[in-house]
Symmetry: C3
Subunit: 357 residues, 3 copies
């Protein structure tokens, strides 16, 4: 049991250490959120206005007009950029003021900070960077589940009144399925709790793999796919600092190698972007992709409906957990067996925070 990980969960590092690893691409939005209106969102404690320019590119500026501080997200989009909704100052995607109505001269101070943003596989990523790395040091993550055409998917953004690492904990440990998701996908707690779990660490990535061979398929699975009887199930969790991939699925028992990337069967592939809003609140961007055998739209709708019920339950638990951690501030936590993966993720974040101080 890892006392230090539990300590980092209860207490926090020195105040000079940033709360979040800074040299990362974080999810700022799902691509389809950016349409004809600017979108205001606080990310890593910074209020940002996100928008799509006339040519379809994504842009992100500080969400504050330099004149009288109205959020630019209260403004409107135009061909050339975003126009403030108070006195009409117009700003381009790089933060330059293009027009001050009623005034010819544009002072040099008439500008707002711009941030690095990229859209990749329908996810909008933002880079804030540490002082050492204001420019991105890598490309944003690829997630071709959204682009390959093999899957139907949908997704949404949830707001959490809880710090981001509690969402990581929740996602890294699927043993809670049997208790939290009692009324949706869960049920047989002992299968989940006793499944053999393999945890491995590759650089800043943690992989948790659990196999449940020859088990009864859950209702969502049988509704979505013509299984013949018992199945070999897998749960593969891949933790990256700014997001997780949770890929689950099943094949008919003993018909395929469950650890073969090209395995067949039924798949549910979840993307989970966890972006700190503030030190104590978070954005949770998720998509769920699936490969129905037949009646694809109906099956997708069913999978999304179940996913929403499940994620709603997680939100209730994690927010209740955080409120209680605040009530019992500073009290130590006890680690148990199932925390292995989550604790590795915490150590990686701890190291990255300290290295970008």
């Amino acid at each position: 049991m890892s006392a230090s990980a539990a300590e980092s969960l209860a207490h926090d590092a020195a105040p000079s250490v940033p709360r979040f690893p800074l040299d990362q691409w974080y999810v700022a939005a799902l691509g389809w959120e950016l349409k004809d209106q600017p979108l205001g969102r606080t990310l890593l404690n910074k209020p940002v206005v996100l928008f799509r320019t006339a040519d379809g590119q994504v842009a992100a500026l500080e969400d504050r007009c330099c004149h009288r501080a109205l959020p630019l997200s209260n403004g409107t989009l135009e061909e050339r950029g975003v126009r403030c909704g108070y006195h009409g100052l117009l700003f381009s995607a790089d933060g330059k003021c293009l027009e001050i109505p009623g005034q010819d001269k544009l002072p040099s101070k008439a500008k707002v900070p711009a941030y690095h943003v990229r859209e990749q596989d329908r996810i909008v990523w933002i880079w804030f960077g540490s002082e050492a790395h204001p420019q991105p040091t890598c490309e944003p993550p690829v997630y071709d589940v959204h682009s390959s055409g093999k899957y139907l998917f949908d997704g949404d953004v949830y707001h959490y009144d809880a710090p981001y690492q509690l969402i990581h904990d929740n996602l890294m440990d699927l043993s809670h399925l049997g208790y939290v998701h009692l009324h949706t996908i869960g049920g047989n707690a002992s299968i989940h709790m006793n499944a053999q779990m393999k945890v491995e660490e590759i650089g800043d990535v943690v992989r948790v793999v659990r196999h449940m061979p020859d088990s009864v398929p859950p209702p969502t699975y049988t509704a979505a796919y013509p299984f013949k009887g018992n199945v070999d199930r897998w749960q593969e969790i891949e933790f990256h600092v700014s997001h997780l991939r949770i890929w689950t699925g099943a094949v008919d028992a003993s018909t395929d190698a469950v650890d073969d990337p090209e395995r067949g069967g039924f798949h549910m592939r979840g993307f989970h972007g966890v972006t700190p809003e503030t030190d104590t609140t978070s954005h949770y961007f998720w998509t769920m992709a699936t490969n129905p055998k037949s009646d694809p739209e109906a099956v997708k709708a069913k999978v999304i409906e179940q996913t929403i019920l499940t994620f709603d339950e997680d939100k209730v638990v994690v927010e209740a957990q955080y409120r209680n951690m605040c009530r019992f501030e500073g009290r130590p936590l006890l680690d148990i067996h199932v925390d292995a993966g989550a604790n590795r993720a915490r150590r990686i974040i701890e190291q990255l925070r300290n290295s970008t101080r």
Copy 2:
């Protein structure tokens, strides 16, 4: 006029003095609140989960799983205790962890604090105790109005955004009936204000008795009881540190001794458990018992309905009073005649707080 009581109301004692007398049984719940779900409630600043075990006993634990701090009140009840709703740890009524799903060994730290609770006459009492008296030094109060079979009663729990002593003040002085309860039981302010009041102190108990001989019975009384005309009314308030008994009633004028405990006539016997939730908020547990002459369920329903209206009015006034005391923090208050009983109660609490520091 008692300057010191008014001062203690406006200002507060030294911070090292506990806000509440600790060596007391406080009401934690009404017995019928504990059914098939655990109940989370903060009492004297301590978050507690209350539940009833399989054999019907009441139990109280710290409302926090020792693993990841989820409130145990978010969990479920089982034969052997309460199971956490996140990862399924199971705790017995004495706080011992009986099971960690997916793990054989139960570490010695796997436990949560348990509190002393007792159910007596359908009221659930809790003892926190000072450092000197972690074990109860007495039995919880008896209240046989709930058990004698002579009365019909019902009750409820109200939450107050006001510190507990303002509720004492409200209950100790029934002269406010004529102003606050104008639209329900009140009306004739001068009768209430000018009734002779006797205040006596017996140990930590304050008794305020007011008699209103040969007066017109209020509507609730005439509806509930076949009075012949004017009545001799009594109001007997008994302040105990953790609860009050307010027993009122009437007999036909000059037909019985109103100070005889065995007097006949119509009775309304109120129990008022006032338990601090935090320094500035409170739980108010009340029951109202009555002895209708005929049509008992209908009369009881009427008495309870009137009681609810009345207590709702009190809550509005006391919460408005507290908000205003905060706005005018530190400003002195002026004592008047009617504060005699309430001020004695405050002095008792002051002494008990200082003695359990």
Copy 3:
């Protein structure tokens, strides 16, 4: 560009300087708000109860009973004054306690502070005064638009989660009409932005006058008045420390002198009382008067409806601005051309605050 005005907007003066000029009559209420109930309202950080006495005079007391601190605004009005809704203490318009129910002797401390209030032209004004001037040094402002009989008018009180000077800024600069009021009275931003603006300062008054000759009348104007075609429009803003007058209107183009006080045509005369509630919140009392040519009640109703829509939009913008100023606390603001009038108003307030410290 005035760096110092922008600085005063972003940062604030020394804490010993009062947040508001104190030696002023501020609007406390619209006359018709005071009917048969006492009205509680915080003004310049002071909780006040306002009421009308039996002879129709207005009165203002500290909103706190000296006994147990209940707001007197929770009480009731009587012939002789306001009676507390808890224990029935009765206070006259000058704050004297006239009665303590159940007690013969009235102690000398039984009283509450009274404030200077006057009703003038259906506006209720209050004077708090600095230490140097607890007595009013002048009469409250006259506003005979409400009394002359030439206009129909109506009005309301809005609560702003923003400090009072941001409302001044909003009202002093009508260039925002083209952006904020896009969906109501606005539309042609360039006309508003490019109108010649004259700013003059007379003592503590700032006048901003803008003329829009030979312009298309806005829809409200044409609905209210039989204009023949293009019009000569005016906007006259007069800033006083505690209120603004914004008089706008139009005549048929080239038919009258728009700067003649006796000019004809269509008029919309707005009164805007801006009274700090607290350091960060405000009351905004407005009335709008007009002189319809025909169908007066219908035209007035239309004008008021448009005014409400417009002021609702302003509230949204100013509150969003203030929230964002808090998020970006201490960040400098950039002045532009249109801020000239507002900045003069800020300098006047700055001087008055410093002179009444």
